[in-house]
Symmetry: D3
Subunit: 185 residues, 6 copies
């Protein structure tokens, strides 16, 4: 399932086992990213603590977070994140076609002007961070995003530039469930 | 110093103030990344917890970590990270010329074969993560890196693909001190 | 549904109406590419005649044709072709996960060595045709493909470099059905 | 002359032989693309039927078609199409220098504003189809092109994105005649 | 003829006028690069002194120099240099088709193995100088080039990376004569 | 110090030895570019004559010349030029942080609007000369640069596109002194 060994559940530190149990309970299956990151507990803790902060402490709607994740992961051609967060995107946005659109090309997606501006920024920050200037940040403000939303749009994008590269490093494989979740209207 | 407001020290949560005080004590000045991240305490905690795990729980030498940071940040043209971690790279590697070489072009740097393989991997994972295959991972193993070292090489690179984009988002400015630290032999 | 007007069915030349009726019969719905191309009947005839030749007069398995289409369209970020031929790929290959893998990154797909060589060629011919040399063609032969298969691998790839650009020009939208077809095992 | 075998004339299906004879009659020599495509008659028919539709059923002037072909083929570095259609471009536009200018860099060519807009679109659709948006199509309309002309500008460009890749696949060599035709004023 | 004013002949310093007269005598017309550079005499002198050293003090055959120029200028899409040195390449190599091949795509040109290695190096040094390593230099040596030839191959390539940018800066237009010179066998 | 042999001082032609002595006198050490170019005296003379014209016969301030050199060399990832001219940039601009900023990313540097326009032009002329149009030149004029300054901005940029490639070809190593010169305020 990954390029690195996955420890047995009973060899895991308690906090990791507890988190994995909760996630498995919630989803009905254990997303492979948890098993992959269990290879190194200190990184498991850090990675998911950051992730939790991104999705829990933000004025962005959860569907907006997932739209950012899918568009970013599409640019980086990251299979695990496109498929796993594609499912979350479909579910949170209640939009069965959105994830395929965003993963393929956000410019062809059915989006509000605000969300197009949001994803234009995310895609540019992913593809050519060195070209981001005040004008790009101003475009987000003009689209109606608050200062904290702008920080969070950038943060989610930045975090998945980390996450995409970890998934590639470990060759994480998406669980079968993610391919189909949320596809029914 | 950044595109986002920096809170007054006495408005900070205790744990952030404590961390900033410790860092200031250690370095003799407050690195701007701490002030920039203080804009959002939940992200401050997550970011530095991950960073701590990367530099403290690893078989990589600290100088190797900093070499990875500087080469990655050079590819992403990230001023804050090139200058701030350039100083750390010079200090930890006790090599006053190394950071300028790595930031400009790791192919022109004075490196062992092992470190060249390490940085070839980091640069490819940064520039084109979608092209990483088993062969790239095997090249690290052939260069003598252990499984955990390979995970950590990828993790440091991935984390600074996050960090570079946060520095760009916030337009973080390197402290003057970083430009000159560690330049004397 | 597209940037160009779609003629009423009863205004269409007989041969176009007949073809559209047959396709609608077969699929249970009218794929939007037929309506989009109906804008210009002479191009409709030429486009589908070429397409028919590609899928009917070839030693390649139909699933191989669709794998080539999806990988090519993924590189070109073409929403219509990724989604519509993603469905065909799932159905012909009887592989519900394959299309998402190929559209995202063929290097991360579950593939035989032969099919990996086939798609490496298609992706290179799409991304940088000017760099194709005898060695690339030899790699296909070494993977076991016959001369005619090599011609056809190149032809399918070339045709969808046309088709992707027509879909972008016309802003063709995939039918809802394509998003979900063939996803059940 | 190509990477694939060229059948003897008397082994060809009648319709192919007839077309080749006509073309040879018209040009005074047999353009190699006909011999190359004769390798696979079903593709020969489809390819030239599409080509015929593009040049015969269009409000674009023939010289405009050839300008699109040369600029597109120049971007794709396709020797056969640059040289063969360079000759046609010189002849139809009655402009001995135009093809070399377009093949090298359409931005440096002697062009009307309308033709510059036409070729800007073609070059963008060739280089980065995923970035084409409503604004690019509007720019063609603003330059005075009708809806059908816009369809045809895109179609010629798309078709030569196919054609360039077939020429590369087969390593088609331009006939000597094409290098010099139409160079005299 | 260029973006900068061209001084009257009788306003030129004597040495420039003498050089221009000699060149005009030799070629039968005044190549526009001389008039363009006459805008700034100190640069005229420096530019042509360097050029003279490249073509006069070298073990490379003059046709090899011109092949390097055309391939480099083709990569940089430089109209003036492709057309003007295309003529010189045809004449010195006595090869009427070579320049069009090299300007379009040196990989599709009729070349010896030695010259292919030479031009592979030139194209890489032009496109991505930061990726040149010992292996690239060794490939030239393996192809039979002497140390001085390697220096000169690199120097001609480097000089035309200057020259191409000056032609673009000044928007130099090739003289009509260059388009047709040397096209007859 | 370079890939090519460095002649002994007493084997050098008088004019080269004289120039090297003067440079050594002025700087307190012999910059390696002089020793590297001494490999081929005719090129030594041409290279430094052009360089002298660029820095001596120009309305640009010397610090502007060096800013152009560092930004261009940063884009080309050229170690020798970034480090050696980084020192000159710090000294002439009396700005100890400027060179690191320009070498990493001129968009993140502390610059006047005029200098930002100057470096935007230089970076574009370096990265994609084929895309330079009248608008880019007009942007320089709008920023207040005279015709001759525009010529010289382009010329310095073009010359260092030569120089960067020569440094890469020869693998020139910066002298240790350059790493630290001008870093004190």
């Amino acid at each position: 399932m990954t390029r690195f060994p996955v420890p047995e559940t009973d060899e895991l530190p308690d906090d990791l086992r507890k988190r994995i149990d909760e996630e498995t309970e919630r989803a009905g299956f254990t997303a492979n990213v948890f098993e992959a990151y269990a290879y190194k507990p200190s990184h498991f803790r850090a990675f998911f603590a950051y992730y939790d902060a991104l999705v829990e402490d933000t004025p962005l709607a959860r569907e907006e977070v997932e739209m950012l994740v899918v568009a970013t992961s599409g640019v980086n051609d990251c299979l695990y994140c496109v498929v796993a967060h594609g499912a979350l995107c479909r579910i949170y946005a209640d939009a069965p076609k959105l994830a395929d659109q965003l993963a393929t090309n956000h410019r062809a997606a059915d989006l509000s002007e605000e969300h197009r501006a949001m994803l234009d920024f995310a895609v540019k920050l992913t593809e050519s961070p060195e070209r981001i200037t005040d004008e790009d940040v101003a475009a987000l403000r003009d689209a109606g995003f608050s200062q904290e939303e702008i920080w969070d749009i950038g943060s989610v994008t930045a975090f998945f530039n980390l996450s995409n590269r970890m998934a590639v490093l470990a060759d994480m494989r998406p669980n079968d469930e993610f391919y189909t979740l949320g596809r029914e209207e």
